[in-house]
């Protein structure tokens, strides 16, 4: 069988027929998303649930969330290649793939999200140096390029491709220079993760998001970087675990998973310290200066439960589960901690995107609420399906997990 020749040596994969059925399921979701994409490109984003109050909605929440969750790529790369945490070699390939999916997926959503997709390049041609979004545009595209560069050697290591002498040497040379790209990636990713937070923190007309700052950066700049690196490694580890469940094979040893959990948990703890301080200062100083109270920031739909869920249930609890070795070494608790950690960062991105603009700032204005419609959901699931497709093909045909052979022998 032709398919078998492309599968990495010494590993087992499901039958080609089974794989085709799996791809068919992914394809069905992709087709649904493609239909919505065509409708949106043909008729404009009026077909979505967005409106003049909620110019930002599910798409931007999704973008911010996946970019945070994709931070496992740059942070694991930083720890592996710069700090030399050698154990991460067991999961670094997956981290790169997940990062690539998250970043390219976010960029695909953005092409849908802007009203004039054909003008997307204006961000480079007419950049506003004062806008945090300009920095995001530059860094996100540069970093996505870095991720492609990091992904290429893995593709070239495919059993068939690697037999070609030129590609074999090319892959080797890519590996030699990988610490350089890991460094560039860390720099770029740190800045755009920060700028995504800065984007909201500078909204001085929006009391829910506005934050004081250090030099030109509001606190949210640093909080977004911290929360991303506190959840990215956990997400990468969860993806590995999910793949193990789906494939029925051991892919990464528990020690590496626990290490990823420890990294995420430690950073989550540090993040929470600053986030709680930030929330306290915002509630007791920033808001009163704007003539507002903490209670006014919430209503029946966007209630305080979101804040407590973010900081408590999906903040302090996972931090404890991931930091304390006794808990971390119990698989169920490690996974629960990681899941809560990832949900927490999604809630954070959601409230900064939606609650920020749902809050009525003018005293005579009122709260509005936002519900995404089918077109937004379909395209969001389209990106998730795209991620599943890239991951499935990579797992089947590329040597993603260096421990797979040993763990399943």
């Amino acid at each position: 069988m032709l398919d078998k020749e492309w599968i990495p040596e010494g590993v087992e994969r499901c039958s080609f027929g089974k794989f085709i059925v799996w791809l068919g399921l992914i394809g069905a979701v992709l087709l649904w998303g493609l239909y919505a994409t065509i409708k949106i490109f043909a008729n404009g984003i009026g077909v979505t649930g967005l409106d003049n109050y909620f110019g930002f909605g599910l798409w931007i929440t999704f973008d911010l969330a996946v970019i945070a969750l994709g931070a496992g790529a740059f942070f694991s790369g930083f720890l592996k290649y710069i700090i030399r945490v050698d154990q991460l070699k067991n999961i670094i390939n997956l981290a790169v793939i997940v990062g690539f999916i998250c970043y390219s997926g976010a960029m695909l959503i953005l092409t849908l999200d802007i009203g004039q997709p054909l003008r997307a390049w204006f961000g480079y041609w007419h950049p506003n140096v004062h806008s945090m979004l300009t920095e995001v545009i530059f860094c996100i595209t540069c970093y996505c390029t870095v991720l492609i560069i990091e992904y290429i050697p893995l593709i070239l290591e495919n059993r068939k491709l690697n037999k070609i002498r030129f590609l074999h040497h090319l892959a080797h040379n890519f590996h030699v220079y990988m610490p350089l790209f890991a460094g560039i990636g860390t720099f770029l990713s740190t800045f755009h993760q920060g700028s995504l937070g800065g984007m909201y923190g500078v909204l001085f007309g929006r009391p829910f998001a506005f934050r004081e700052g250090f030099f030109i950066w509001p606190w949210t700049f640093f909080l977004f970087v911290f929360s991303a690196i506190a959840s990215g490694p956990a997400f990468t580890m969860l993806v590995a675990t999910l793949m193990e469940v789906i494939t029925g094979r051991k892919l990464v040893d528990y020690k590496t998973k626990a290490l990823m959990g420890k990294i995420a948990g430690t950073l989550l703890g540090a993040y929470l310290f600053f986030k709680i301080l930030d929330t306290w200062f915002w509630a007791t100083d920033t808001l009163p200066r704007m003539g507002l109270t903490f209670d006014q920031m919430f209503n029946d739909v966007y209630g305080q439960w979101l804040l407590w869920a973010e900081l408590g249930l999906c903040g302090i609890i996972p931090a404890i589960l991931l930091i304390v070795p006794k808990f971390r070494n119990i698989p169920a608790l490690l996974y629960i901690g990681a899941i809560l950690d990832c949900i927490g960062v999604c809630i954070n991105r959601f409230v900064f995107t939606v609650q920020t603009i749902a809050l009525p700032v003018m005293p005579f204005d009122k709260w509005y609420s936002y519900t995404p419609n089918w077109a937004e959901w379909a395209t969001t699931f389209e990106i998730i399906a795209y991620g599943a497709l890239v991951l499935s093909l990579s797992y089947r045909y590329l040597p993603v997990f260096p421990q797979e052979k040993k763990l399943n022998s």
Binding site: G115, G123, P127, L203, M362
Partner: protein, 255 residues
């Protein structure tokens, strides 16, 4: 970011005690600026209304019940929350009169400016503009028609400003020193009660400059620091109180 100050600062003073909420300013703005009627007009969150009249209430029952109407154009902020966030410099604080401009062919439709503006003064073109048959003949030739996917907003009828400067040049007058009646936005011209006054806030000869200094004058959300060029005035304390988010123990301006 510092507040941007220019030699000429066009501004508006709206007397809320005179405004009857008739909506003439909204209609005039719509016609003057070629604002396309939307197909589904019942969705107020998708309509385009550069000038929007809000209804304010004192929240009391009859006979103490009282209402006021507040027309809200773009505030043309001295420190605009919108222009600093725009990634492509599609919007910026204009040196000529301090009007916040909007360059439609430059806008990429990211809507970050809408997220930044606390006044909801910016509107997105959700669909291609379609005018009912024959109505396209009434379009104003001085104003561009915006395509789908860009953000638009009130420009204080900037085309009228351009025309007034042109006229002044033709007559050998200084275009940077216009008289009050040389340049008047459509909403001001049409207001039946004379509630809206327009002029150069920096020119002491203009009526707005005096009215803006009234003890009853206030600006929306002043403490946010956007420094709007639109002033409101009312002798009613509860109306002034709704201009900004006053805490319970705080005194209102004008008291």
């Amino acid at each position: 970011m510092q507040v941007k100050e220019f030699k000429v600062k066009w501004g508006m003073v709206v007397d809320l005690d005179k405004c009857t909420g008739c909506g003439a300013c909204m209609v005039a703005c719509q016609a003057e600026n070629n604002i396309a009627p939307v197909t589904e007009g019942s969705n107020k969150l998708r309509t385009l209304t550069w000038m929007l009249v809000y209804e304010l209430s004192n929240g009391k029952d009859f006979p103490e019940h009282d209402i006021a109407y507040l027309p809200r154009p773009c505030m043309q902020c001295g420190k605009p929350s919108c222009s600093t966030v725009c990634p492509v410099v599609a919007t910026t604080k204009d040196e000529e009169g301090g009007i916040v401009s909007q360059i439609y062919p430059r806008c990429i439709g990211c809507r970050y400016c809408m997220a930044a503006c606390p006044y909801h003064a910016r509107y997105f073109n959700w669909f291609d503009p379609v005018w009912p048959e024959g109505m396209d003949k009434t379009l104003n030739i001085s104003t561009s028609v915006r395509p789908r996917g860009v953000v638009e907003k009130c420009t204080f009828c900037h085309h009228r400003f351009a025309a007034a400067k042109e006229k002044a040049r033709m007559e050998g007058r200084d275009p940077m020193h216009l008289e009050e009646e040389d340049y008047i936005p459509a909403c001001v011209e049409v207001c039946p009660t004379g509630a809206i006054v327009f002029g150069d806030l920096n020119n002491p000869e203009h009526k707005v400059a005096k009215l803006a200094k009234s003890r009853y004058a206030f600006r929306l959300l002043e403490r946010l620091g956007t420094d709007p060029q639109v002033y409101y005035m009312s002798k009613r304390e509860w109306v002034r109180r709704q201009g900004d988010n006053y805490l319970e123990n705080e005194k209102t301006k004008g008291e």
